[in-house]
């Protein structure tokens, strides 16, 4: 998932530095992520991962780093995968 997040950040976030130079724990705000940028990233992440980020997850801390994003979004992605598996099982 982090690869996907890095791709989104690279394409959408308009950071001041290339995403490749950031570690997973580096502060994204310090790297130039704007408030408008966070919303763009959220929408793009939703599209890329096929999830909807619930309002309780939308906090300042969510975008602190690639790690914080991955940690918060992992349960949503797992949930979605499980739901997909159930769908496939039901069809079979």
């Amino acid at each position: 998932m982090k690869t996907e997040l890095r791709r989104v950040l690279s394409e959408i976030a308009c950071l001041d530095v290339p995403v490749e130079t950031l570690s997973d724990t580096d502060d994204l705000y310090a790297a130039g992520l704007s408030s408008f940028g966070t919303v763009r990233v959220m929408l793009a992440v939703e599209d890329a991962l096929g999830i909807e980020i619930p309002s309780e997850l939308i906090t300042f801390e969510l975008f602190q780093s690639i790690d914080s994003l991955a940690r918060a979004l992992a349960p949503l992605v797992s949930e979605k995968s499980a739901a997909c598996r159930q769908c496939v099982d039901a069809r079979e």
């Binding site: 394409e11 308009c14 502060d27 704007s34 408030s35 763009r40 929408l43 980020i53 801390e61 780093s65």
Partner: protein, 605 residues
């Protein structure tokens, strides 16, 4: 005909706007600028104005920018029905107005964000627009609604946002930072999908985006499929444009590119300021209990809107509303417009003005930066507003301001003899020059916010794992405690043995207001950082001010710093009305008897 490039306030179809005219008055092409909605419009106001000037100066073509009905200085409210339909109609009305007043035969619609979407829809209905420039258009309405909702959620999670949260917000509307879209507008907006409904809105379309996106490329393809010449350009600098007006930087490369695409020589950055002309005699916005007229004063330097009641209250002072931060005269959440119209309901006239360098007023050559504007010129500028009100027949004036406007308010109150009252909301500092006047210090929260954070295990975890900048916060807190402790320790010796502290200076300033007899109300949200400054110098909740006759402090719950929340705006407006009624209109208390400084100092101790 040759003259100077000019900009003039105009009104049409209930809309307030600016007509920018080039030096040569024989242009055949004109541009209708469709601004974004809500907070986006607040962020880009000054840059959007500069772009309009660039079109007239560099390209020699007239441009019309305007506020949609229910937005900016235009008539109506954002909660009025059928906003989306009305906004599309207003773009069409703007086109008609531009044609009628300038004689242009070819039209370009240029819109930003939601304004770009409105430009497309209006152009489709008109069918005779020659070119469309769409800067970061809202391609799908549903996605835009989700975006606003996400931004609002982020704000609600901040300590101040939590404090001012309104439970009914989510159910009745969607919006962010004081601007809302209501049910029927949301319904109409949700059906918008430019990709699926793209038609040949104009022979040429220029699309700008912040990054290469699938939806933008699809839209361009759809246009090309309809025989439209569609070009896509990417400018990451838009990310720095849609920021808090204090930080917003116009996307000059993107603007230059638009000029080039339209076939003109680029060079927007070199655009000199243009002359601001007085409004035409028929420029006015009517509403149920009064009307508003644009005004240009101070030898064409300052711009404002004069709001007059239909039934004026005899001998009532007029109210001067000044800018907050870099936000133009309408204020955050359109506070100044709403307040002006509420005051008119009570028979009170008001002027909301742009200080030099803000909104539409000319900038001071020596002070291009926001800090310098406030430090060097703001009180002089506001004084010009007071003088204008006096010339309009109002012998007494009350000044109102929020944040840095609160600073302007109390200092203008002291500076001008005809100012009889002032309300300062969330005043961040009393005097300019202290470290807390630096812009970065304005991000520092109230001590109460950090006190709450201390009791949160989650916040400790963030601090200990290095995910919060604990050092910066500790330095900020230490500074405040140092000032507070110094003030307490030195207070008994203030003014003696050559000892003078900032607290002494501030107390002296407040005592001068008291002696002048200016009815002064200092109002703070319960979690506002300005409250710390009040308490450092005047005790808990400003309790030491209770000894004064004319200066009071009040802490209001649920009031965020910029009054983004609907409730906060209503609470403050009601409080201001009460202040005017009780302390200025009905029971004008006698001017405080003159007291010697030593006696006054004792009084404040």
């Amino acid at each position: 005909m040759i003259g100077n490039p000019t900009m003039r306030p105009v009104t049409f179809a209930c809309c307030y706007g600016w007509l920018h005219l080039p030096a040569s008055r024989n242009a055949t092409t004109g541009v209708v600028l469709c601004s974004p909605f809500g907070y986006d419009a607040l962020c880009v106001h000054r840059g959007w104005r500069d772009f309009a000037n660039a079109l007239t100066v560099s390209c020699g073509i007239p441009a019309l920018r305007f506020d949609y009905p229910g937005a900016g200085d235009s008539g109506g409210n954002e909660e009025d029905p059928q906003r989306f339909r009305t906004w599309i109609d207003s773009v069409k009305a703007a086109a008609q107005y531009l044609r009628a007043t300038t004689g242009v035969t070819q039209l370009i619609f240029c819109g930003l964000r939601l304004g770009a979407t409105l430009a497309v829809l209006a152009a489709e209905e008109l069918g005779d627009v020659d070119s469309l420039v769409l800067m970061m258009p809202v391609i799908a309405g549903k996605r835009y609604i989700r975006e606003l909702s996400m931004q609002h959620q982020r704000w609600l999670k901040s300590p101040i946002g939590r404090e001012s949260a309104e439970p009914c917000d989510d159910e009745r509307s969607v919006g962010v930072f004081g601007f809302q879209l209501y049910a029927d507008t949301l319904e109409q907006l949700a059906t918008v999908d430019l990709v699926h409904h793209a038609r040949a809105s104009a022979p040429r379309v220029l699309l700008h985006d912040i990054c290469d996106s699938v939806s933008m490329n699809r839209l361009a393809e759809r246009y090309r499929g309809h025989g439209v010449r569609a070009d896509v350009q990417i400018f990451t600098e838009y990310d720095k444009f849609l920021l808090d007006p204090r930080l917003s930087v116009p996307p000059w490369r993107a603007f230059d590119s638009v000029l080039g695409w339209l076939g003109f020589q680029s060079g927007t950055m070199a655009t000199p300021p243009v002359e601001i002309l007085a409004p035409t005699a028929d420029a006015r916005i009517d509403f149920a209990v009064g009307h508003e007229t644009p005004v240009v004063f101070g030898e064409g330097r300052y711009v404002g809107v004069f709001c007059q009641p239909r039934c004026a209250l005899e001998s009532a002072p007029a109210v001067l509303l000044v800018n907050a931060g870099a936000v133009h005269r309408i204020g955050d959440g359109r506070l100044a417009v709403l307040m002006a119209r509420r005051l008119a309901e009570q028979g009170i006239a008001s002027l909301r003005m742009d200080l030099g360098g803000l909104g539409d007023s000319l900038h001071h050559e020596s002070a291009p930066m926001l800090e310098a504007i406030y430090a060097l010129h703001s009180v002089t500028d506001a004084t010009a507003g007071v003088e204008w009100l006096m010339a309009a027949g109002h012998q007494e004036v009350v000044v109102f301001g929020v944040c840095s406007g609160a600073y302007v308010s109390i200092h203008t109150a002291l500076a001008h003899p005809r100012v009889v009252g002032c309300m300062s909301v969330n005043l961040p500092f009393f005097l300019w020059g202290a470290p807390q006047t630096k812009l970065e210090a304005l991000h520092f929260e109230s001590i109460r916010v950090y006190w709450r954070a201390i009791r949160s295990p989650h916040k400790w975890l963030r601090l200990l794992t290095g995910r919060a900048n604990g050092l910066a916060k500790a330095i900020g807190l230490a500074r405040r405690w140092k000032v507070r402790l110094t003030s307490l320790a030195i207070s008994p010796f203030e003014g003696r043995f050559g000892i003078n502290t900032s607290t002494g200076e501030i107390r002296q300033f407040i005592m001068e207001l008291e002696r002048k007899g200016v009815q002064t109300s200092l109002v703070y949200g319960s979690l506002d950082a300005g409250r710390d400054e009040l308490e450092i110098h005047f005790g808990p909740s400003g309790s030491q001010l209770e000894k004064l006759t004319n200066v009071t402090a009040k802490i209001l719950k649920g009031v965020d710093h910029a009054l983004f929340s609907h409730t906060a705006r209503n609470v403050v407006m009601a409080h201001f009305e009460e202040f005017l009624r009780d302390r200025v209109l009905d029971a004008r208390p006698p001017v405080a008897r003159p007291v010697a400084w030593t006696e006054a100092d004792e009084c404040l101790r």
